[in-house]
């Protein structure tokens, strides 16, 4: 089975999945092609793919590849 690494864990990869679809699945929010949430709010999430930042505007044009290392991060409590 094709897989990627998602936040340090192995995650199944369906052929043709875009980064945008992955972020939408993980966050449970529908995304516009701009990478912004369809609900008009702010997503508050950033994505690194193989140690490089992928701006949200490029998520929908970025197809995931076998063994990609994806980190999806957000704001949590901290000093």
């Amino acid at each position: 089975m094709s897989t990627i690494q998602l936040n340090g864990a192995t995650h199944p990869l369906a052929a043709g999945t875009t980064l945008s679809q992955l972020v939408a699945t993980v966050t449970g929010r529908e995304l516009l092609p701009t990478g912004k949430p369809a609900d008009g709010g702010r997503l508050g999430v950033a994505v690194a793919r193989n140690s490089g930042i992928v701006p949200r505007s490029q998520w929908s044009a970025t197809a995931l590849e076998l063994n990609d290392d994806i980190e999806i991060v957000t704001a949590v409590q901290g000093g």
Partner: protein
């Protein structure tokens, strides 16, 4: 009093006026609800967050809100930090993630040397400051209470320097007031006392020493009554700021009567 001070004495960083000189951290709070109440009670307009892996809200968690939403709802500007970074390289990546996720150029730069002291690693801090400034970040540099290093960070383009009062989470207060005073006296960017604050008088002292603002987290979030402590800090920062501007009396060796000796009745 609070209103007047808020309107006439904003803290301006990177051209942005902040009505409160109390900057809050969010670490250490047991619940998001409690944290929200404490933040509102503190009157803060700028609050730090850490960048970590996204995890779905736990099933049945109240409100379903997240920290970023909580800050937006309360009109609190967000300051992503680079907590947990040990190298300039990690800090740069974390800062970039924060900028992308939270749509702000501001970053609280923390590059620590080890987990026991949590003290800033000066070498990595200098390297990271220079690189982040070059990439257009507004760097709030968390630094040792070292007047030489603080000035270097300002010269590298830091938007604010944030010397520690004592190591993170210790609540030991301001261990070297003289150094803090020295940092303030030579700085042209805002000086924010960060870390080590234990109670309200520590924050008041920081302001009396001339600091432009105070940043704290644990002192509120880990207090027995975080909302009451947040209110205490709100007042302490205002009190310290007013005192710093009011011109304190000189210290004297001997007493000086405030009632006149003349005109005493013959008793």
């Amino acid at each position: 009093m609070t209103q007047t001070l808020t309107q006439t004495d904003p803290l301006v960083i990177d051209g942005i006026p902040l009505g409160s000189r109390l900057i809050m951290g969010t670490g250490g709070a047991p619940s998001l609800d409690g944290l929200g109440a404490a933040l509102v009670a503190s009157g803060t307009e700028l609050t730090t967050v850490a960048m970590r892996r996204y995890s779905a809200p736990a099933a049945g968690s109240t409100g379903g809100t997240n920290l970023f939403d909580l800050l937006i709802e309360n009109n609190i500007r967000v300051l992503p930090n680079t907590a947990g970074c040990f190298t300039a390289r990690e800090a740069l990546m974390t800062a970039e993630l924060g900028r992308e996720a939270l749509e702000t150029d501001w970053v609280k730069l923390e590059v620590i040397a080890d987990e026991h002291t949590l003290l800033p690693d000066a070498v990595e801090l200098v390297e990271a400051t220079e690189a982040l400034v070059a990439r257009g970040f507004k760097v709030f540099a968390y630094t040792n209470d070292d007047p030489v290093l603080a000035l270097r960070l300002e010269q590298l383009g830091a938007a604010a320097v944030m010397p520690l009062g004592a190591p993170i989470g210790t609540g030991l207060g301001i261990l070297n007031p003289h150094n803090i005073e020295l940092i303030v006296s030579r700085a042209s960017v805002p000086v924010i006392l960060d870390a080590g604050i234990g109670t309200a008088s520590d924050a008041a002292l920081a302001m009396e020493l001339g600091c432009d603002a105070v940043l704290l987290a644990s002192a509120v979030t880990r207090a027995q009554d975080p909302v009451a402590m947040a209110q205490a800090f709100r007042h302490a920062v205002i009190g310290g700021r007013l005192a710093a501007q009011a011109g304190r009396i000189p210290r004297r060796t001997h007493a000086l009567a405030s009632s006149a000796m003349e005109g005493r009745p013959d008793l």
